[in-house]
């Protein structure tokens, strides 16, 4: 590593020494001086376009954007002069003048960065003319996952940068110029007609209410209040380590027990766990992988689609449908845990509880906006009904808990209901990049060799993904059980990627014949589901790392840490599914996807 030079500057009279290349904004942060920002986001490249963060430099006529200006030796910065304050106020006033500031009608009311700035600046009586009536703003409400309201947009381009840099999807871009400049899609088609994967990373970064999830809070309350309905709720692994943030707690808190208690108090009839079907996914997907390997190695079947890729992340599914449709056969046919749960809730669960599936309302709490789209897919009706009726994000559950007036932090820990509430550590780590891979290996290795994976404490750290990185690992299989003889000495090559930009790199390598993987795990969002588009705002790398620690801590603390040892999993195979990849499984737990065009 090269030694970095230290630069000495003065900010508001305070001497600050920072590394060369640091921006004024970050240097000020070091000195505990807060400079307001809007277009700036820790996860994204610097845009410098909102101009809210301007500061004064000694000897310079013009102000500079502190987010974009690197420090230089001897620089003297002033963050709070009259000139700066008036400029910032003007800028916020300008943004308000083109913004539909009907805050009480906005989903982001109370959680809006522009609103917060306006209150800090004491905007009060507006300085300038209201430009909103002359604009012809459009609201795109056709998408089951994301609503885009241009009248709330302040054109900071966070969404554009997110879609391009983190996801390499570029569904959103800038159109037109001058007063007509707007954030739009390809030929201004509605979001559901373009390459958007519904990952919601833009929603998570939008400072205002321009991009929000379609919320189903009222629909879920209606179902709860309807005495004829039996409302079951499932909660995804990554919700329990982030929900606290929506309710005022610090990032990295595990709130599983409180979450269950809150859901029971909200009035759900049965509080169950997506982790149960995460374990089930491992059994089905593990067997699927082994079957494909057998067909390739023993039967020498040239048509078998390898490498096999995970299919739990609906953002990834839509991405591959658009971008690499020729690789759809490589996707595992397993539905995502959410959809497996949905299908079983209206079949197995209904039978066990003696309920008519038409009276069951199936709700899921997800760290994800793409899950909303997934639940509405035509493929996802194998129970004869829509398998999952409503998908709420972690944020929406936070809102419901607030609406109900629950003192979340002081709730006692409670346990999931049964059946379909039992889970393992392997299921919990589904919430983190590398988690599905690790869980699958814990089970598959043991299935094939009769021994536990040769890693200390079952922690397969080589596949634990790192944010923004593609992680490759090879695990040699030796001394296998007789029925798996064909795998003797095989080196299982795995790759783990998070964020669609990395997914694209992996798939391109496969396409170019530069990679000989057997198993690919992809999660659409940075860091995996723990950094999902439906997670609390703000989300950034630091917060994601805390959530990740919490997930692995939760895994460590679980009494059972291997999916195949989950007693309810054994029970469901004995009572209902018969065997992995069996007829019932095929009917309820597996599916196929559709190629889509890029444009």
């Amino acid at each position: 590593m090269t030694k970095t030079k230290k630069i000495n500057i003065k900010i508001d009279g305070i001497n600050v020494s920072v590394e060369e290349g640091t921006t004024i904004l970050n240097a000020a942060l070091n000195a505990n001086i807060h400079i307001p920002t809007l277009c700036y986001h820790k996860d994204l490249c610097v845009a410098g376009n909102c101009r809210v963060c301007v500061v004064e430099l000694k000897g310079a006529k013009n102000l500079v954007a502190s987010c974009a200006m690197p420090v230089s030796e001897g620089m003297e910065v002033f963050t709070n002069t009259g000139k700066v304050r008036l400029a910032r106020k003007h800028i916020v006033e300008l943004l308000l003048s083109e913004h539909n500031a009907d805050c009480t009608k906005c989903y982001k009311n109370g959680n809006c960065e522009l609103q917060l700035l306006a209150s800090e600046m004491l905007t009060g009586e507006h300085m300038f003319l209201d430009l909103v009536p002359d604009q012809h703003y459009t609201i795109d409400m056709f998408n089951p996952a994301i609503i885009k309201d241009d009248s709330r947009c302040i054109r900071c381009q966070r969404c554009v940068r997110t879609c391009e840099e983190l996801q390499s999807v570029s569904a959103l871009g800038v159109a037109y110029k001058g007063d007509k400049m707007k954030i739009s899609t390809f030929f201004e088609h509605p979001m559901f007609e373009v390459v958007c994967t519904n990952c919601g990373q833009c929603v998570n970064r939008c400072p205002t209410g321009a991009l929000v999830e379609r919320n189903y809070v009222d629909e879920v309350w209606d179902a709860i209040y309807d005495p004829t309905k039996h409302v079951v709720v499932q909660t995804a692994p990554a919700v329990r380590i982030a929900l606290g943030e929506s309710l005022g707690m610090n990032p990295g808190k595990i709130v599983t027990g409180k979450m269950v208690a809150a859901l029971k108090r909200l009035g759900f009839d049965s509080v169950l766990d997506t982790d149960f079907t995460a374990d089930l996914t491992i059994i089905e997907e593990g067997n699927e992988l082994l079957t494909r390997l057998k067909r390739a190695l023993v039967d020498k079947d040239k048509k078998v689609a390898l490498p096999m890729a995970t299919s739990c992340s609906p953002g990834w599914i839509k991405f591959i449908e658009h971008t690499f449709p020729e690789y759809l056969p490589n996707l595992s046919t397993c539905k995502s845990p959410q959809q497996m749960f949905g299908a079983l809730a209206k079949t197995y669960y209904a039978q066990k509880r003696g309920l008519d599936p038409k009276n069951i309302v199936s709700v899921s709490i997800m760290p994800c906006t793409a899950k909303k789209f997934e639940a509405n897919r035509p493929e996802m009706r194998s129970s004869g009904y829509q398998d999952v009726d409503y998908v709420l994000t972690t944020r929406e559950l936070g809102i419901m808990i607030k609406q109900a007036g629950l003192a979340f932090e002081s709730l006692p820990d409670e346990h999931f209901d049964s059946i379909m509430g039992e889970s393992t550590g392997a299921a919990v780590i589904f919430g983190s990049t590398g988690g599905v891979m690790e869980a699958a290996l814990r089970t598959a290795y043991e299935l094939v060799t009769g021994r536990e994976v040769p890693f200390d404490g079952l922690n397969i750290t080589p596949v634990r993904g790192t944010e923004g990185e593609i992680r490759e690992a090879a695990i040699k299989i030796t001394d296998v059980l007789p029925e798996w003889k064909f795998l003797e000495g095989v080196e299982l090559k795995c790759v783990v990627a998070n964020g669609l930009a990395n997914a694209k790199k992996v798939m391109q390598a496969v396409k170019d014949g530069k990679a000989d993987y057997h198993f690919i795990e992809i999660m659409a969002c940075p860091g995996g589901c723990l950094g999902g588009g439906g997670q609390p705002i703000p989300t950034d790398r630091e917060i994601r790392n805390k959530r990740k620690e919490a997930i692995y801590q939760e895994d460590k603390g679980m009494p059972i840490r291997k999916s195949h040892e989950n007693p309810e999993i054994k029970q469901i195979y004995a009572e209902f599914l018969e065997k992995p990849l069996g007829h019932k499984s095929h009917e309820l737990l597996h599916t196929h996807y559709t190629p889509r065009k890029r444009y």
């Binding site: 610097v46 845009a47 410098g48 376009n49 909102c50 101009r51 809210v52 301007v54 006529k61 013009n62 102000l63 954007a65 974009a68 200006m69 690197p70 000139k83 008036l86 400029a87 003007h90 800028i91 300008l94 943004l95 003048s97 083109e98 300085m127 300038f128 003319l129 430009l131 302040i154 054109r155 381009q157 871009g173 800038v174 037109y176 110029k177 001058g178 007063d179 007509k180 400049m181």
Partner: protein, 387 residues
Amino acid sequence: MSELVQRVDLIFGEYSDQKYKTLAETVGRSNEDIIKDLLDSGLKGRGGAGFPTALKWKFTMEQPADERFVICNADEGEPGTFKDREILSKVPRKVFAGMAICGKVIGAKRGFMYLRGEYKSLLPGLLKEIEIYDETAKKLGIDFKIEIRMGSGAYICGEESALFESMEGKRGEPRNKPPYPTVSGFMNKPTVINNVETFVNVLMICRIGPIQFRKLGTHDSRGSKVFSVSGDTPKAGIYELELGMPLAEFVEEFGDGDTKAVQVGGASGFCVPRKKFKDTIIGFEGVPTGGSMMIFNSSRSMYNVLHNYLEFFEEESCGQCTPCRVGCQQLRKGIEAVKRGDKPVVYLEQLMKLSETMKITAKCGLGQSVANSFSSIVSNFKEEMIY
């Protein structure tokens, strides 16, 4: 022509008999020598901002890089400016020769001309000249290729960093500065980007020497300048004049006897009212200009003039930064509201402050310079804004 308004024939002067004679003479000289000549000449960029050309080149050549570029900014879009069109149709050879000298000095192997979309008609002539240049370069052993890239009609793409973005196939939006083009320009490589006229000036300095060049103009504004004269004048057209003349002399020469104001430097420049003609110098020490001189007589409504400029900026802003995108709309609608009586006269003060904010906070020169015409027109012709 009056004594003070000095016609010059540096730029449009005849080509020498031998093709690319000055270039041939210059390639043998040392780079330091050429930079020194440019420094001594006092040449400042002719696009309007007036950055010393020698320094721009020096910074670029000193920046470590595996590749450097020369770009000729021929995206002449400032309202009231049409001098580059004339230069490119009359003396393109001088432009290419100037670019080749730059390539030699900074160590660039490729040069580009970014040609305004509306100047497509100039393309055949320029391409023909490039063929001649290529032959000459081959003979002289100059390893520097020149290509032409077409703009598509956006004013903002004349802003150097937006121009790079456009050339790279992206949306024409200005970048954050620093880094400046001398460090990271086209394709993030050190780049010299100069106006068409600047390259011709470079060539002429190499031909006549810095001492001759310095004889023209004033201390802060050396050399001659090509002016685009338009508006209420009997002599609209292109004129190469010495820099540093008082505006009064200019008006005497070009006005129609009833001149009320001159807009110096186009829509992004300053409006000078009659009472200030005498004290205003055309040049970097007074009112700088990229060449646009729009003359208005007493029949013109300055409200309409300003309104027209603001509409122009409103549309031509790239739209990325708040002060420019929203500020331009507020200024235009604001003066309309005052004119209609919907806003009190004091609202003009509010708008003046807003234009000042735009000047000090906008991301690029476009948004920063809207205040020039706004404040100079509103403060000098306030009654026309109201009644």
